[in-house]
Symmetry: C2
Subunit: 329 residues, 2 copies
DNA sequence: TCCAGCAACTTGAACGTTCCAATCCTGCCG
DNA sequence: CGGCAGGATTGGAACGTTCAAGTTGCTGGA
């Protein structure tokens, strides 16, 4: 292995001082054109890379952002995180940031991890996914003025911190509109019990669209926990009605998959739309609402680096999902 | 925010020198019992955490390991990586290591990332997934004596570097044995074209088990690229035979899902077994061979930290997968 | 009595970078 | 032609840790 190339090596070769090399890297405009070129040539020739640890020690910034990786609670929805992480890593990399993973079993433990990461690694910021009403984590971070973004809007105060989210209501509205246009009138919704921010949001798009079309959504609405079995049960329930729906919008692909199974078993003709466009949906040909995860990730990084560069945080970002049409609707 | 707590703060409070505090942390045995206790109390009282950047600058070690996150080529198999990453982060965390992500579009770019990460972040080691015959990445890393482990055995020379893998052959053998025991005789295999290490391995378990049972596997074997559509096509092909199989083992859940669809369309009665136990398998009730990903991740970290601590690398690790029985077999 | 040997602890230096204050140019004005 | 403004460049110090080489104090053998 060749000798380590430091800023001093570059300086010697370019016949300038250490500081000038540093300036070329961090404040190019204050260095004279010709000197800058000479230094840059030396950098390339020697293959110099700034040592982060040293830089970090001086500046207190690590160019590292942390994301929690969850234990894939529900298998189906797991791969959403996967795609999100990829997008995050890619966008972060483009601006010179790197992504660090951590795990935590609950909010309390997660906060302990924050303080560890901040003290030991001088972490620059955090990306949180899935925040709840009155989340203790965002409160902790905000109190210490640690930069962070959330994927998922804060359900209490929309202006409390930077966030990026997908407009779930717009997604279900789009699905419902499409079904209305294909001639459906009795369009059910199988979603989660009221009270969860994400779930209520998704339900509302369907609800409003039906109302706008002059249809009473009331009797068509169903609530249940997430899961394939639950979806199947609810769909069977709906099929047993005197006037069963001809289409159903679901709050997740798990529910939709269950519904689909019930429909097929019964030999019925009911259009089914899921949510999240998971691999499962692609595999079984399920029409589903797709979250633009790469874009979400990109905007998260943007917001975070914005704050890190000292800007006040931009307005939050709400992205439109898109409907991926397959065989089931 | 309170003043930063450094080793000097602790030293003052415990009435010892910096170095003694450092020794308590890195070589406790050379410090007198009573002194050690005093220092440790001060550490706890002040909430001291060693600054990694400073430590790294001196020692050249970052306690960081890097893993590539792939763009989820094939959606179905994506979530495998997800679970692997979680396991990795968890096990690494337990020994004081952290996991850093990176992306790369091809091998050449990946090597460029290595050299960047090594120079800028003093990375301690890499975890590679899915190596090929004559992989340029392992060669590059080995040439520079950078510690790394692969998830997936090196297909050329089994002793060339530490690795952890799942015994795919044992998995398909187990599936085939189970099918034989349930009375099946004509058991097909739908796998990838010969030449890929992983694919050949999975095929061989099925092949050997059938041979051992006195059955000629030849006419039952099928080769195709991965994918749901491919699986469906191959299964239809098999069903059109004069003596169609009564069961089929597949090299992936994608293929199995396609096969399953063909079987159901044809109204046939054919048992289907997939490979990887992806969320899709769980969702549709597909029997599948499950890789012990958490264990794989744990052993990867073990191997890597072993090398980092200066031990010669242990013998490679080959783990047994298990068969998850659901409705399709 | 003297000092070797050892355990326990301390001190100065170094890792590679950036901050800060100081110095060196260069051209321009009076 | 001296002085001065201001841009370009430089050298010393500091970030928090560990390494290497010290110092101190004690035990025990000649």
């Amino acid at each position: 292995m060749a000798q380590k190339v430091t800023i001093a090596t570059v300086a010697r070769r370019a016949q300038v001082s250490r500081q000038t090399v540093s300036n070329v890297l961090n404040a190019p405009h204050i260095v004279r054109e010709e000197t800058r070129r000479r230094v840059q040539e030396a950098i390339v020739a020697l293959g110099y890379r700034a040592n982060q640890a040293a830089r970090q020690m001086r500046t207190g910034r690590s160019r590292l952002i942390a994301v929690r990786i969850q234990p894939t609670r529900d298998g189906i929805n797991g791969s959403v995180l996967d795609r999100f992480l990829h997008g995050l890593t890619e966008t972060a990399g483009a601006t010179g940031y790197r992504v660090l993973l951590y795990t935590a079993d609950d909010d309390g433990q997660e906060i302990a991890v924050y303080s560890d990461l901040l003290a030991a690694y001088d972490l620059d910021g955090f990306v949180l996914t899935g925040t709840d009403h009155g989340d203790p984590r965002t409160a902790w971070l905000a109190a210490r003025k640690v930069p962070f973004v959330t994927f998922g809007r804060p359900w209490d105060d929309l202006e409390s911190h930077p966030w990026v989210d997908v407009d779930g209501a717009a997604g279900t509205a789009q699905a419902t509109r499409m079904l209305l246009e294909t001639g459906h009138r009795r369009i059910s919704f199988i979603g989660w019990p009221k009270g969860s921010g994400v779930g209520d949001d998704r339900r509302s798009g369907w609800y409003r669209t039906l109302r706008a079309a002059g249809i009473d959504p009331g009797p068509l609405d169903r609530e249940t926990a997430d899961g394939v079995g639950e979806g199947e049960r609810m769909m069977n329930d709906l099929l047993a009605e005197p006037e069963p729906p001809t289409a159903v919008v679901c709050a997740s692909d798990s529910l939709a998959l269950g519904a689909l199974r019930a429909v097929r078993c019964a030999g019925a003709e009911v259009a089914v739309v899921g949510f999240d466009d998971t691999p499962v949906a692609a595999a079984v040909g399920l029409t589903s609402v797709s979250q633009p995860l790469a874009a979400v990730a990109a905007r998260c990084v943007e917001q975070l680096t914005g704050v890190l560069d000292g800007h006040d945080f931009d307005s939050p970002v709400l992205l439109e999902p898109s409907l991926v049409r397959r065989h089931t609707a």
